[in-house]
């Protein structure tokens, strides 16, 4: 919460600086809302959960950061997520401001657009890094578990995605005002809710860090309820001003595709929300807490994701206002042709895909998205070359520079398609094997033969690691070796040998990542033969000096190497996981392009409608 308050202050300051001199009526209210939020969080840290409370006695040494969290992505994941949450407060505050002052044009929306985009991006980075950490650090082999807290981060992200698209409609056509305000308010409330879930432990989650006091919980609930009630009341009482300026002209138009996309995202958000809060809902209805597992989520999310990708492929080709079927047919012919050809080829060449048609459909649609994006870029470049006789590279740069949002958006689409391919492939065709192996034994999975070559052990001042060196052959050809191990950290309660195995454990995952598939391995060494040795040593010598203890631990490790019991291995072959991370990076760059401050000419155009401050341009 301290972090929340800090980040909120930083972003608020930045936002208020960026909009200075504009939106004279909206800004004071928005400022008040931001202040109120900051006050609540600062108040909570000062009065209810002071993070600087000192311990009753001085510990000899702190326990240090949990070894599991010592990973580069874990350094960025929490601040990124919280930046996302707090950044959503800014459009939220401005939406409230616009509602209160009844200035519901596109001004507030334009002013906070980049903050909404930044919030979306930061939240996305946070989610993705969390997934990567889970894949690399937890001995599990997965990256997403539909855990309550994961969902809590996904919810505002989904609404944010919807908003970024529908905001364009309001800006260009003055439509969907009510919708936009509601989305922004929803994302704002969900951000607080997300923070609350992380902090509260009302839902069973591996992320629920602290058992907070009841007052803290009620403060959060009160905050959410106030936000919710205020939002709903404001929207209802201002509905006259929120009336649309135009009607939807035709079913086949960019607007209606945006709307469809919004509805799908909203449905996704609703599904995720229902699943996440189902334990509370069922408790209220039937009296017993009951929860739904990942298969339940998958069964809804997969088809909705398919529709979403289809819209992503077709949407950019549809013209604003009114577009005919014939026109759409002309522009879609080539990408659709290539995508279908790709799908057919995949069906013929890949036996796996034949077993899972929804994955095949997703790959085909993703290919459509890719082709659409490439076609749009090519069309733009060609037009520029024809007009300005520029060389291709310059034309491309100019094209993107002139309309960062549009082309940045296309890059995001492309990256997202890549990412979804990775998710589809790795979730549909993942093969998990879990077997106990003796030294020299091997297992066969998906063309790989993995042999337990020899046990490994290492002891240092911090931890004891026991592991295995694995020999890999792929389709009969030797493919090198890789290591995996499990480490024990001391519990630091007694200076004994056994204590060294009583603390936190951490799995060092063995990973051979490739563009097409990852070979992932984790080991669970059997300590039942060596723990008795440690016990005997402790019984004989009692408390030990640090040096004697180190000797004892080394002896135990050597005993493991001399006579290694069978170890349990978890070997996972996941196709295309690398695509998820690669797609994420592409999305990141796309979003950066879209977020980059526009050059002077564009900025002047954006400021024109406000009118009064034109002379400030260039300051």
């Amino acid at each position: 919460m301290l972090l929340w308050a800090v980040l909120l202050s930083i972003w608020s300051t930045l936002a208020l600086r960026v909009v200075r001199g504009r939106l004279a009526e909206v800004v004071p209210v928005a400022t008040a809302v931001l202040f109120a939020l900051a006050a609540v969080f600062v108040g909570m840290t000062v009065f209810l959960a002071n993070p600087f409370v000192t311990l009753a006695q001085v510990p000899v040494e702190g326990t240090g950061l949990n070894p599991l969290l010592r990973h580069a992505s874990m350094m960025i994941h929490p601040p990124a997520l919280y930046s996302g949450y707090t950044l959503f407060s800014i459009p939220f505050a401005f939406a409230i401001g616009a509602l209160v002052t009844r200035r519901l044009g596109a001004d507030w929306l334009l002013a906070t657009r980049r903050f909404a985009l930044a919030a979306w991006l930061a939240l996305g980075i946070g989610i993705l890094l969390g997934a990567r950490w889970s894949y690399l650090e937890l001995g599990w082999g997965g990256y997403w578990a539909w855990d309550a807290v994961e969902n809590a981060a996904l919810l505002p992200w989904l609404l944010g995605t919807a908003y970024l698209h529908s905001a364009t409609i309001q800006e260009k056509r003055g439509m969907l005002k009510l919708w936009n305000v509601s989305l922004v308010l929803g994302a704002g409330v969900l951000s607080i809710l997300g923070t609350f879930l992380v902090r509260s432990g009302i839902l069973s989650s591996i992320h629920a860090f602290v058992e907070p006091g009841a007052t803290l919980r009620w403060t959060f609930v009160a905050l959410i309820v106030i936000e919710l009630v205020a939002s709903v009341w404001l929207v209802i009482s201002r509905r006259e001003q929120l009336k649309t300026e135009h009607r939807l002209d035709a079913i086949i138009s960019r607007e209606s595709f945006f709307l469809a996309q919004n509805l799908v995202l909203l449905a996704l958000a609703f599904v995720v929300m229902w699943g996440t809060f189902f334990p509370l809902i069922s408790e209220a209805v039937t009296g017993t807490k009951s929860s739904v597992g990942p298969p339940w989520f998958d069964q809804y999310v997969a088809p909705l994701a398919l529709v979403l990708v289809a819209l992503m492929g077709i949407g950019p080709l549809v013209a604003w206002r009114r577009s005919g079927l014939a026109e759409l047919g002309r522009s879609i012919a080539r990408p659709a042709g290539i995508a279908i050809a790709f799908g057919v080829l995949l069906y013929i060449l890949n036996a796996d895909v034949r077993t899972d048609l929804s994955a095949l459909l997703l790959f085909t649609l993703a290919a459509l998205v890719g082709c659409t994006v490439i076609q749009e870029f090519a069309r733009g470049v060609r037009a520029r070359r024809a007009m300005a006789a520029e060389p291709t590279a310059k034309a491309l740069a100019q094209l993107v520079r002139r309309n960062r949002r549009r082309y940045g958006g296309y890059v995001v689409h492309f990256g997202f398609a890549v990412l979804l391919c990775g998710i589809a492939a790795s979730s549909s065709f993942q093969r998990v094997t879990e077997v106990p192996l003796k030294v020299g034994q091997s297992i066969h999975t998906r063309g790989y033969t993995v042999t337990y070559k020899q046990p490994t052990a290492s002891v240092n001042a911090e931890r004891v690691s026991l592991g295995a060196e694995l020999l890999v052959t792929h389709n009969g050809k030797p493919d090198g070796t890789f290591d995996t191990s499990k480490s024990w950290y001391p519990a630091n309660q007694t200076p004994t040998v056994g204590d060294a195995f009583a603390g936190e454990t951490e799995t060092d995952v063995g990973l051979r990542a490739g563009p097409l598939r990852d070979l992932w391995a984790a080991v669970e060494p059997d300590t039942s033969t060596i723990l008795p040795i440690a016990e005997r040593l402790d019984k004989k010598f009692g408390d030990l000096t640090p040096i004697a203890r180190a000797v004892g631990i080394a002896a135990v490790a050597r005993a493991y190497l001399r006579n290694p019991p069978p170890a349990t291995f978890r070997i996972v072959v996941s196709p295309m996981v690398t695509w998820i991370w690669a797609g994420g990076i592409i999305v990141f760059f796309g979003a950066l392009i879209a977020i980059w401050p526009p050059g002077e000419p564009v900025r002047r155009r954006l400021r024109m409608p406000v009118g009064r401050k034109r002379k400030k341009v260039g300051s």
Binding site: N50, P51, V53, T54, L55, A56, Q57, T63, L65, N66, L68, L138, G139, W140, G141, S204, S205, I206, H207, A208, F209, V210, E211, A267, F270, V271, W274, G275, F278, P279, S282, T286, T288, K289, S290, S291, V292, G293, P295, W296, Q299, Y300, E434, V435, P436, K486, E504, T505, E506, T507, E524, D526, T527, S528, T568, R570
Partner: protein, 136 residues
Amino acid sequence: MDPSRKRTTRLVVALVCALGLATVLIYTSFSAGSEAKTPTELLAGAKIGRSYQLTGKVVDGSVVREGGQLRFKVRDRVGTASVPIIYTGQVPDPFRVGREVIVTVRKAPAGGAFIGEKDSLQTKCPSKFRAAKAGS
């Protein structure tokens, strides 16, 4: 059709779709959901064949590894009633005696033990803040 009629029809269609989705959602979630139980509740009445989500703490000295199997007992957060679990699959790193866990279980047909669903074991992240709280 005049525009307002058309709009109404569109609205009705949209509402019906939304309601349909909501109904399916509610139905499947209630039928697929597994009940969350504490050890005491589970001991008091668990039907064979149903799966439950058990939450509680790992009992001191109850963890035994045998081959690929993990046997342990889960007790109430506050209290002593405990349930024996036989579990296979992946064990999260933070899994330790005294930690809070969530595991999906089914009652074994005989013997009074509960069979943990493969790979369903979750351990709550140990809190580094809790020690500070206890000391304050």
